[in-house]
């Protein structure tokens, strides 16, 4: 029983990160019906910018603890948001009217571009976040030892998600975002500047991805230019699992995927971890063709 709880907490921590990245996919998809394949790379860019701020700008020397993490998140999220803005302006806006698959291929091109840009700038060797930013303390809850850093990261993921949920569902701009996601044409008629809302989405989505990037850097230390592919695929799967376009769905999907992986590794086999995760996704989609919390898509005749 002890090990089960431990594995569950392992799953939650990983799931929190998947969920945070999945939010980026879900928001962009919700509004544009586009899978932003470059989102994984924006996540990796967040990790690298965090590294630059910490090491090259020496942020880690004069400040310790939570203050640094807060500053790191703000800077990384801000810079990657700008990258997201330009990504949308260059690669997606011209294709807004054309068939959806054109935008998907453009996204794939952008993903290859970002990945290799990071390789050229930061080199092929794995970079490592300096240790000791966050105290490596183990907290034991109900007899289960959980590293403090994992709790902090899970908590901040949930916090960011709630912030986003509150913004989308309880603010005027949030209402505009929902309007645009339901029907761009109608929203435009209601006086909503659709382009501005879409740009806003491409500020928030990538920013969340960057936050997850910084967290991965702090938690695991090692970052590489091609880590966006793996995390991107997992987070995208989580977004679909929860019902793409649906914010609570992305949160649920991410956390569920993390737990499935942890339990799959623990109780079935570690070599088949990813295969189990994808197999579960396929099973769920067969019985719930639009994801767990996705709406039933009946085709209006």
């Amino acid at each position: 029983m002890q090990e089960f709880l431990q594995q569950l907490t392992n799953g939650l921590a990983v799931g929190g990160i998947y969920a945070l990245i999945a939010l980026g996919y879900t928001m962009v998809y919700g509004v544009l019906k586009l899978i932003n394949f470059a989102h994984g790379e924006l996540f990796a860019l967040g990790a690298y910018l965090g590294f630059t701020l910490l090491v090259t700008l020496g942020l880690s020397d004069f400040m310790g603890g939570v203050g640094v993490v807060f500053l790191l998140l703000i800077f990384a999220m801000g810079l990657v948001a700008i990258a997201g803005y330009f990504l949308e302006r260059v690669a997606y806006r011209p294709l807004r009217q054309s068939n959806r698959l054109a935008a998907v291929v453009s996204a794939l091109g952008a993903s290859i571009f970002f990945q290799n840009a990071m390789m050229l700038v930061y080199g092929t060797k794995a970079l490592v976040y300096p240790g000791g930013i966050l105290p490596s303390v183990v907290v034991s809850v109900l007899g289960v030892e959980i590293p403090l850093i994992r709790i902090l990261i899970f908590a901040s993921s949930v916090l960011l998600m709630c912030l986003l949920f509150w913004f989308i569902h309880h603010t005027r701009t949030g209402a505009a975002v929902r309007a645009v996601s339901l029907d761009q044409g109608a929203a435009r008629l209601m006086g909503i500047n659709v382009n501005r809302i879409i740009s806003l989405i491409f500020l928030i989505g990538p920013a969340l991805g960057a936050a997850a990037g910084v967290m991965v850097g702090l938690l695991y230390g090692q970052i590489r230019y091609d880590m966006g592919v793996g995390y991107g695929l997992k987070a995208f799967t989580a977004a679909i699992l929860g019902g793409i376009g649906n914010i609570p769905g992305a949160m649920a999907g991410g956390i569920l995927l993390g737990v499935i992986e942890a339990l799959g590794a623990a109780y079935i086999s570690i070599a088949w971890k990813d295969a189990i995760a994808f197999f579960t996704l396929i099973l769920i989609l067969i019985f719930r063709p639009t994801g767990l919390l996705g709406e039933r898509v009946a085709d209006k005749v």
Partner: protein
Amino acid sequence: MSLLSPPLRWLAFFACLAATPPLLRLFGVDGGGAVQIGALNDIGIYLILALSLNIILGYAGLFHMGHTAFFAVGAYASAILNTSHGWPILQTMPVAGLLAAFFALLVAGPIIRLRGDYLLVVTIGVVEIVRIVLLNNVFDLTGGANGISGISRAEIFGLRLTTPADLFYLIWAFAGLTVILCSLLENSRFGRALKYIKQDEVAAAGCGINISLYKIQAFVLGAFWAGMAGTLLAVKMRLVDPESFTFSQSVMLFAIVILGGSGSIAGVVLGSFLLIGLQEIFRDFSQARMLAFGAAMVIMMVFRPQGLIPARRRRYDLRGLTGVFPRALGRRGGAEGT
């Protein structure tokens, strides 16, 4: 454009291709053009795969980004039959195709009802699962990370294919056959049915088309062809391993079809030459190679969202059929608006 009728245009294209290896040797390109021919062989295999994907993605409009899974099943089937059961490699091609087709039947059945992006992610899941199955050496067949090596040389009518030029003719003969069969398919009842499904499933069902049956047939046919292309890869590389069948390869095939022109054979051919060729041409940028390639993909997509050579509406031979039938209503010539 209409200087040559389509079949002649294709004939000219393949004739020029066939002449390339001897010309390269004639001009004394170093190494007899082995590098250039090697690149053309790569493009040839990708073209066959992209044309088989075009049946599923281009004609039927199914969001399929896991085509490498069928390619892998075919390649491994050939490798296993060749190395542990002693089959001559080219004889394994039909079996490789059938096994890939069977695997497609198994997979497509339950997921065919899924819509757009949900189908997309499931196909990505399938290709990842296949790669992990290969990696974990299931039933001690796939050789794990080592993959399977020592695949024998291909032989046709007693002639052993050793040099890249030999492979060139084998691969491009098969590519030519693929182009012919795809154009026959495109202009037939079967091809039309797929296109109706792509445009509007409900209307297609209203015309008496069994939607699920045709979608599964498209998947199985595409997989069969990709499985046979797997044999060609086994012949070319003489080694198959999990790292040759990754998600990024599926992405490349998806991009070739969409960028070249979804549902257009000429588009897919151009897409293959461009996307695989560009990677070779940018090679002398070495590390910046893929950076330029990614940017090129975005730029090409932004300037040609409908694809480089989009599918054209087919012109039917209506000799003796116009103006001969009774009209219940007066002529509705002009496009008068209401």
